[in-house]
C-alpha cells in the first residue's frame, strides 16, 4: 500500500517557470520529509528536507511547503532551469525508524 502519494507523474515547464510537485501522506506518524533528485543513470541524491515543526523551508531556488493538518507537503522550484530536469521523489520517515517511504516520483522537464 502506498503511504506517500505523489503527483503529478510528469511535468513540463519552460525555463523560468515554477514547477510544483505535491505529496500527501496517510495515517502513519512521520517526522522527517526529504526530497530526492535523480538524474538519468544516477542514484537519487538528497535535495532538501523538512521536519513537521516548520511550515516552510527554503534552500536556494528550492522550497518545501508543509501543511501538517492536511498531511501534505510540496516542492516548489523557483526560476526553473534546464539543468533541473530530473526525477523528483518525496519521502517520509516513520517515527522511531531509519526507513524512508518514497512517493512514486515526478519526471520534470524544463525546456529552454
Amino acid at each position: 500500500q502506498q503511504q506517500v502519494k505523489q503527483s503529478p507523474q510528469s511535468l513540463i515547464v519552460q525555463k523560468g517557470g515554477i514547477p510544483i510537485i505535491n505529496c500527501a501522506y496517510e495515517n502513519t506518524a512521520f517526522d522527517y520529509f526529504p526530497w530526492y533528485q535523480q538524474f538519468p543513470g544516477k542514484g537519487p541524491a538528497l535535495l532538501i528536507a523538512i521536519r513537521p515543526d516548520v511550515s516552510e523551508k527554503k534552500e536556494g531556488r528550492f522550497t518545501i511547503s508543509f501543511n501538517k493538518s492536511a498531511k501534505q507537503f510540496s516542492l516548489h522550484i523557483m526560476d526553473s532551469q534546464p539543468g533541473d530536469s530530473a526525477t523528483y521523489f518525496c519521502a517520509a520517515n516513520p517515527n522511531n525508524t531509519d526507513k524512508l517511504i518514497f512517493g512514486t516520483g515526478t519526471r520534470l522537464q524544463v525546456f529552454p
Binding site: Q9, Y32, K42, G43, P44, L46, K99
Partner: protein, 114 residues
C-alpha cells in the same frame, strides 16, 4: 572518498539463475538499505540493516536475501531469478546512530531477467 559502490553496473540474467548484487560503502555508516526502482512505483525497500550482524525485511522482500557480515558490505542475493525481478536496484546507507540522517545512494545496478 568513493561513497557507495555497486557492482555490476548492469546484468542480463536467465530466469532461474542465482545472482548476487554487491554494495560497498566507505563512510562507516551503520545502516544500509536495498531498494528496487520501477517506473510508476518509485523506490521500494527490499531489505535493510541497522547495524552489522542484523537485517530486516522491507516492503518487497520475497525472492531476495541479504547479509551484513561487516559494516562496509551489504550484498543482495536473488536465489532463483524471475522476470518480475527485472528492475534497477539501488543500495543506500545512512548514519542513524545520532537520529535519522540522510540516505546516500549508490549508482544502481540495472538487472534484466529473461
Amino acid at each position: 572518498i568513493a561513497g557507495i559502490t555497486q557492482a555490476p553496473t548492469s546484468q542480463i540474467l536467465a530466469a532461474g539463475r542465482r545472482m548476487t548484487l554487491r554494495c560497498t560503502q566507505d563512510m562507516r555508516h551503520n545502516a544500509m538499505y536495498w531498494y528496487r526502482q520501477d517506473l510508476g512505483l518509485g523506490l521500494r525497500l527490499i531489505h535493510y540493516s541497522n547495524t552489522a550482524g542484523t537485517t530486516g525485511k522491507g516492503e518487497v522482500p520475497d525472492g531476495y536475501s541479504v547479509s551484513r557480515a561487516n559494516t562496509d558490505d551489504f550484498p543482495l542475493t536473488l536465489a532463483s531469478a524471475v522476470p518480475s525481478q527485472t528492475s534497477v536496484y539501488f543500495c543506500a546507507s545512512s548514519d542513524s546512530s545520532t537520529g535519522f540522517d540522510t540516505q546516500y545512494f549508490g549508482p544502481g545496478t540495472r538487472l534484466t531477467v529473461l
